[in-house]
Symmetry: C2
Subunit: 491 residues, 2 copies
Amino acid sequence: MVVQLDNFFRPRSVAVIGASRNPSKIGHVILKNMVDGGFKGRVFPINPEAKDILGFRCYKSIGEIDEIIDLAVIAVPAEFVLKIVDECNKKKIKDVLIVTAGFGEVGNHKLEEQLKDRLDKYGMKCVGVNCLGVFDAHHRFDTLFLPRYRLTRPKAGGISFVCQSGAIGSAILDIAAYNGYSFSKFVSYGNATQLDESDIIEYLLHDESTKVICLYAEGIKDGEKFFETLKRTTPVKPVIVLKGGLTDAGMKATISHTGSLAGNKDVFFGILNQVNAIRADSLEEMFHIAALFEKKVDFTNNRIQIITNGGGYGIITTDAIAGSKHLRMADMSSITAGEIRKKAPEHMNIGNPLDLLGDATTERYRDALNLCLADKNIDGIVLIALYQTPLLTTEIVEVITESHRNSKKPIIVVSTGGEFTELLSKSLMERGIPVFNFPTETITALDKVVNYQLKHKHVKVVNVVKEEKVILGKMKTKHKAKPKATKKKKK
Amino acid sequence: MVVQLDNFFRPRSVAVIGASRNPSKIGHVILKNMVDGGFKGRVFPINPEAKDILGFRCYKSIGEIDEIIDLAVIAVPAEFVLKIVDECNKKKIKDVLIVTAGFGEVGNHKLEEQLKDRLDKYGMKCVGVNCLGVFDAHHRFDTLFLPRYRLTRPKAGGISFVCQSGAIGSAILDIAAYNGYSFSKFVSYGNATQLDESDIIEYLLHDESTKVICLYAEGIKDGEKFFETLKRTTPVKPVIVLKGGLTDAGMKATISHTGSLAGNKDVFFGILNQVNAIRADSLEEMFHIAALFEKKVDFTNNRIQIITNGGGYGIITTDAIAGSKHLRMADMSSITAGEIRKKAPEHMNIGNPLDLLGDATTERYRDALNLCLADKNIDGIVLIALYQTPLLTTEIVEVITESHRNSKKPIIVVSTGGEFTELLSKSLMERGIPVFNFPTETITALDKVVNYQLKHKHVKVVNVVKEEKVILGKMKTKHKAKPKATKKKKK
């Protein structure tokens, strides 16, 4: 069943209960970030002791507010949470986000059960407890109680990240933003007292701006629900899952973290495989895979040409492709080889990898790239650009951007380096081109992406136009119905 | 046999043959970098057409120079190389570095053989052909023909990198410098026409400033020599090897890159294993392992305590440790647990991982870190510091530095994030503390490091003092003799 969660991501009015004048308090940081982030809705701080906070009139209680409140963000100590929930119910608030810790994760199961009963009785939806809250890059709504100078908020894009652990989510958001990746929504759902990962995934399945869903989960409370949700979701959008608590020691640690029971890992992986969710083996890998999906990289036509100015990088990438499950090395046509030969220096070998050599110019890249893209024996390009070499001008950014724009074939770029490299890589990413640091890890991630895409290819082929219309139609009916299995294809 | 290669890394005088006034020519960039890098020796540009280059008097030929030349760096087209080598011989130059390409790697085997014969006949030592040359961070000698604004040169330190491929080496140097790692020497040896990876490794074995050796190799020309060299080296210094050309396709590509035959990978890995060299599976991993050795991280006493302010990071790290071969989770003593309890907030669980929670202060980190370091049940710390949380002040850098300085137990730090995180991480690294971005990859690398260290532990125990004296004595005799197997231990 689709749970309507719009109020958690784009509320028109928000009450921050436990707002504080003290800048070191969570209740202050939440309010500040909401304002600094450019949130357009109305904000009502609640604190019985304060008259105003950050220029906002402060209310003694939620009952004092005359207007309709879409969402209450609750940041009061655990012992006051039940009372606040009662007050929210009186005020007819149906959506609450509780950041407060001190429930099941510290053995206080009774309080958490009481809370759950209360929420169910009132028909309230709740994200939390013991969580970091939400971030919506498109609607600039931000309840994360982490300062903006410490946690860079990413640009608006297509990755949504559902994360039981707030720390993992925030660290990844931060590094991803720094590296130029863009996000749609972030949810840290903590103990999952009421809404769980499945509810959130189901919502994201129908969320237009979400193109790929990442999940870090420690324990799944309702395996069957999870299974059914993923089964519905993965034909439409890829879901990448990183599981915490795989080993006995790790499992033990999940209990005190989010009060979860991590469950049997083989069962878990079995489920992921059955429903065609993508298993990430590390945070870094999750991040690589998500970026490939977000940039709509499609290497299901899998004959790859490597173009490089570093011979060794070409070889390492060749090894990775040859060792992959779904990718293979393209066999350039003799016509293309002849054309490249014409303009190439004598000492350059024409093949795959195509090593343009350390004295490669931007012009040599342009010729090679465009000739390879036009070759019917080549389906896509892994372009290695090592900007340390002196003859590669910054115009390479334009060259790659133009080829990427004009060709239907996928191009991914691999560049390793320091400040100068980062500059060019970020510039390329801003133009929508997927860029990665190291070859081996990139190919491993790409292989997992293609594995997912291939499994869904037959679905797509059946009647892609019709199916897409169905989806779009259902989207408009406020996500009430289940979409059928389908997948949009980048053309 | 130890080949004396000092002239390649700290020559007193260098001729740059093929020096150019044109800033886009390799012969210009080499000269410029040598000067800009702060090289203290004398520099003689050779170019029959120019009077002076970059303020240096230019010579028409090497014969014109009156002084003794320790090293000739040759950057003329392939067809002129033999003639230049003849002239160098006349001038009694015994060490030449040939960056020129266009030999065996493009099928011009005859020319390369002629060159080899000539070098042997003259008793010359040669790094190259088809290479990027050398970089010595301690002696500020730099023949790399890559602009300094594109390839940041790293600080002086203990990692030496031997790299058949110039591109891999330069990209890694660049990103490593950017991330605060420090290097001793870098050698790109290209086609290994004469000096090969084994000669260079043997030299580095005796090089005092080299603490760890990284090797990227495509093909090994003399397997037995390689085997014997590694056997002598690994008991003294770790050697990390990344092999290019593992697959059939990759192997094919090595032929045109450096004219190497990549050889059977199982044989190669068998050799690595026998001689206890460390196999890296990717560039990124090689880099992680090298950094751990460079910072002298020793987790052979393997009971690890995790301290974190992110629960999920603690769990992922626990999974990685529990899944490792040599590392295990420490079991904190009840006394330590009691002491931590005293100062901890009520909702904090005391255990391993020790989750200091999202509201962790610097003070809470200080207490936990020092109490854990004093616990006899704990051998070392993986300290996860996620700087996104607001109560962790920048003083954490001082706290970690002080504990690291005062304790004999190893500490490694894991931090993921953007600009603010990078700032603090770099600051820690400058103080000698090993810092990494992601938990899983770090633990995988650490496990390989411990695997190496354990294999050598018995050697160390035999008679470490005596053996060290032997080594030092032999060092002073200008590396003429083979050292016996031993290994220095950080205390």
